[in-house]
């Protein structure tokens, strides 16, 4: 019978990481795209280093958000080719295992990208970080989890649409606003120093939104990929 949700999740995740490793197309494109986005902010906002440094956390998250659209869209493009997602469903694979496997795969990819972008952001915007780097990495992880869960659900919906590249950000960005706000604020507090002791509040908010996003994805995903 079915391999179960945990093993199914692991096999789907392993498959996605293997595809990424064999092609490396997605990560390469994401790194260059996110790096270019970070650089474009410096051109768009001019040479005022004080403004750039002050808002560095926000630019980091915008670069990650824009890159996530490419990452999420690509993760379902491989499922559309040869109707591979139908193949997974009909084996059968538990739909929730498909959701968890793909969402965790997207999280790992975005988190890896974020880890690469942190030193680039520090260098490009001349950031003198007051808080702990480990706290920033924790915010990065929570933020990437918050993008990946609804992103995986909406990428699955958009993958069957004709205007999928336009539809995905249209659906995703409004839902992500609270989590994005919490991520930006938490990053800013870590970079500039936590004078008002706000970091825990932002982290709690991020964890709360993650719980909502992942629970909704877990419940709704089977209805999205099954043709009832």
């Amino acid at each position: 019978m079915s391999v179960g949700i945990f093993k199914g999740t692991w096999l789907v995740l392993k498959k996605d990481l293997l595809i990424e490793w064999r092609t490396r197309a997605r990560l390469n494109a994401l790194v260059f795209f996110a790096f270019a986005t970070l650089l474009l902010f410096t051109f768009a906002l001019g040479p005022d280093m004080e403004v750039l440094t002050k808002n560095a956390g926000g630019y980091l998250w915008l670069a990650l958000l824009f890159a996530s659209v490419l990452c999420l869209g690509e993760s379902f493009r491989v499922e559309s080719e040869n109707q591979a997602l139908d193949g997974l469903r009909l084996l059968p694979t538990e739909p929730r295992a498909i959701f968890l496997g793909k969402a965790l795969g997207n999280t790992i990819l975005l988190f890896s990208l974020g880890l690469l972008l942190i030193p680039i952001t520090i260098a490009v915007y001349d950031v003198k970080m007051v808080g702990s780097l480990w706290h920033l990495i924790l915010v990065l992880l929570l933020g990437c989890l918050a993008i990946s869960a609804p992103g995986t659900v909406y990428a699955a919906i958009a993958s069957n649409a004709r205007a999928r590249d336009v539809l995905l950000p249209l659906l995703l960005f409004p839902v992500l606003i609270p989590a994005l706000l919490a991520s930006v604020k938490a990053s800013k507090v870590i970079i500039e120093g936590d004078l008002m002791n706000n970091l825990n509040d932002w982290l709690t908010l991020l964890a709360g939104f993650n719980t909502i996003y992942w629970a909704l994805g877990f419940i709704l995903f089977p209805r999205i990929i099954e043709d009832d």
């Binding site: 019978m1 079915s2 391999v3 093993k7 199914g8 096999l11 498959k15 293997l18 595809i19 064999r22 092609t23 491989v78 080719e81 040869n82 109707q83 591979a84 139908d86 193949g87 997974l88 469903r89 009909l90 084996l91 059968p92 694979t93 043709d227 009832d228």
Partner: protein, 216 residues
């Protein structure tokens, strides 16, 4: 349980938007029998096969497969039904071996079956190549290996001879006969009617989603 038909369509219709792909279809096939499904392009053959594979479900009517309701029993049914479709269901960037290994792991089958099946379908020499580099015929051979790995009680073939060379066609015929001998129920949709008749004992002809002729 074994006396129940392989599948039973009771006034089944399927709608895609404003168009009815299948209209009020009633038919049943005994277990162990083999059915040739014929009809012009767009007659509803692929729609019917997708429903029998539980990839989609009737808009109206009742479909029972291997004694279970197609919706309620979908998870159990998917273990027992195999579909060879126009789409190969494979990941382009994985090798033939990696694709089959994934299928074996998800089905809980022994991994030792993978190299044997690749040899059986003639892909052993290219087992490490990504599917992206495969010809259409090689992709179909890999899809055959996938079906063999599943060893389904109900095997569904949608245009199985397309894209195959003469050797591949002979192999495909051998596979269908092998499945019949092991007791699988076989449903075969093809435009190569002579070939199909030689492999099946019943025929259902569809036109515009309706059953025009059912031959026992």
């Amino acid at each position: 349980m074994s006396n129940t038909p392989a599948f039973e369509l009771d006034d089944v219709s399927k709608r895609y938007g404003p168009r009815w792909a299948l209209a009020r279809l009633s038919f049943s096939l005994p277990r162990g029998a083999s059915l040739l499904l014929t009809g012009h392009n767009g007659s509803g053959k692929s729609t019917l096969l997708r429903m029998l594979a539980t990839a989609s479900f009737p808009s109206v009517g009742k479909l029972t497969i291997l004694g279970q309701d197609c919706r309620a029993g979908r998870e159990a049914l998917r273990h027992q039904v195999g579909l060879l479709s126009h789409a190969s269901f494979h990941y382009e960037d994985l090798s033939a071996e990696q694709n089959l290994t994934l299928v074996a792991q998800l089905l809980g089958k022994p991994l030792s079956a993978v190299p044997l099946l690749l040899e059986k379908v003639g892909l052993k020499a290219r087992s490490d190549s990504p599917v992206r580099q495969f010809s259409a015929g090689m992709r179909k051979r890999l899809a055959i290996a996938r079906i063999l790995l599943k060893a389904p009680a109900l095997a569904l073939f949608d245009e199985p001879f397309g894209e195959l060379d003469p050797v591949g066609i002979t192999q495909m015929e051998g596979l269908i006969r092998e499945l019949k001998q092991t007791g699988s129920t076989v449903v075969l949709a093809t435009h190569l009617i002579e070939q199909g008749i030689g492999l099946t004992d019943r025929r259902l002809h569809l036109a515009e989603g309706r059953a025009i002729e059912a031959t026992p």
